[in-house]
């Protein structure tokens, strides 16, 4: 191999390694054995039947220097029951119950069928994928990273409809129990919604009534 070829290979090799490092999320490194980690996450996730937690949401928009923050109560019951109840700074509640989506805003309840309403189907897919850590879903391609405390699963949507609304779903999972610590929905323009679960209780009794809005 000529000197020029070696030099060019070195330059491109270094460039590719640098680009790979740049793509890597700060504070996380790629896992050594993605298959083993995937199996571990799936096994841990299958043990979680319910989650009750406070949540804090941050919405970052490129047009605003300040983030919009909101807080509330988060309930999840396997398979497809979810309640996001915003309490501060506005009262708003979204409930997903199988194929139904209920929204309560300023006292008025609206019901949607997630199967027939494309928008809600897409939102439903994203949020449930985040909570359930769906590394097996055909809708997303996963990449795995880790640090001392958490696994970070970056899901890239595969369907065109979801891709148009979402660049990646970044799910932070607790290494101890496989439960979701935080999830970020990153949009194609870089804007994102970040939801952090706080004071989490796993596998507590949750009534089915919590997932119906009247």
């Amino acid at each position: 191999m000529s000197f020029h070829r070696i030099a060019i290979s070195l330059v491109f090799g270094t460039l590719l390694v640098s680009l790979d490092l740049l793509a890597q999320p700060a504070g996380y490194k790629p896992v050594a054995d993605p298959k083993a980690v995937k199996a571990k996450i799936d096994a841990a996730s299958s043990q979680i039947k319910t989650i009750r937690s406070e949540f804090s949401q941050e919405k970052k928009l490129s047009v605003m220097t300040k983030k919009i923050t909101s807080k509330g109560l988060f309930l999840y019951k396997r398979e497809n029951q979810l309640r996001l109840e915003y309490k501060v700074p506005f009262e708003y509640c979204m409930v997903v119950n199988q194929s139904k989506v209920y929204i309560k805003d300023e006292g008025k309840v609206s019901t949607y069928d997630a199967q027939s309403n494309k928008l809600f189907k897409q939102i439903n897919t994203m949020i449930l994928a985040s909570i359930q850590g769906q590394s097996n879903s055909k809708d997303f391609k996963p990449q795995f990273y880790e640090n001392d405390k958490n696994y970070l699963m970056i899901l890239t949507p595969q369907s065109k409809a979801v891709k148009e609304m979402l660049k990646t779903l970044e799910i932070y999972l607790d290494k101890k129990d496989g439960s979701v610590v935080k999830f970020d929905m990153v949009e194609p323009n870089g804007d994102y919604t970040s939801i952090v679960l706080l004071s989490k209780e796993l596998n507590v009794a949750l009534s089915d009534d919590s997932f119906i809005l009247k």
């Binding site: 949401q57 928009l61 047009v63 939102i123 979402l166």
Partner: protein, 193 residues
């Protein structure tokens, strides 16, 4: 042969016509938002309710005058990804990002027209009608705290904008209603705590 000056005269005449036409368009459709919006603040936020064909959608509209003098309009739901992100730059409307349901040309045109009426319409004396975009635009004084504007033929407006005011110059609420379809947008001023 000897009429070369006539040709030159006609060329000069045509050369003069174009800038006058351009100036007329610029007068009718300003490329900067008109008062009272963006006088004291560069950003306005509205709690937004959309009633369309029996369905309802709510979110927060962020309207920001950017440093490059463009106007950015972003509608976000209280949960989930952005509904749309659009901008007016030099009078041209562009959809930066939108959910697939809002990408069709008719929806984009409808949003463009509504936002032009909301932020760019001439704010002259009440009851004064004038040409704006491709139709008549009239403003009416209702009572001390309410104003109305109509767009379209004076007797049968296509779009009606109802403004409510609190103590400030900026409306506390604007309702945009379409007469030809069951479509209503309610924008209520929202101040983040």
């Amino acid at each position: 042969m000897g009429k070369w000056w006539l040709g030159l005269f006609m060329v000069l005449c045509f050369a003069c016509v174009k800038p006058i036409q351009r100036e007329k368009i610029a007068l009718d459709e300003p490329d900067q938002p008109t008062p009272p919006f963006f006088q004291a603040d560069s950003i306005h936020m509205f709690n937004t309710q959309i009633d369309a064909f029996g369905k309802q959608m709510r979110g927060i509209l962020v309207a920001k005058k950017m440093e490059n003098h463009s106007l950015r309009l972003v509608l976000i739901p209280k949960t989930g990804p952005t509904i749309f992100d659009a901008e007016f730059h030099h009078g041209k409307f562009r959809m930066v990002q939108a959910i697939p349901q809002l990408r069709s040309a008719p929806v984009r045109k409808l949003l463009e027209k509504d936002f032009k009426l909301l932020f760019f319409a001439p704010q002259k004396e009440d009851a004064a009608c004038q040409r704006f975009m491709d139709n008549e635009y009239c403003r009416y004084q209702m009572d001390g705290s309410m104003k109305k504007a109509t767009y379209g033929p004076v007797q049968h407006p296509i779009i009606t904008l109802s403004y409510a005011y609190d103590s400030t110059q900026v409306p506390s609420q604007v309702i945009v209603e379409h007469a030809q379809m069951p479509l209503k947008f309610t924008y209520t001023k929202w101040i983040e705590p």
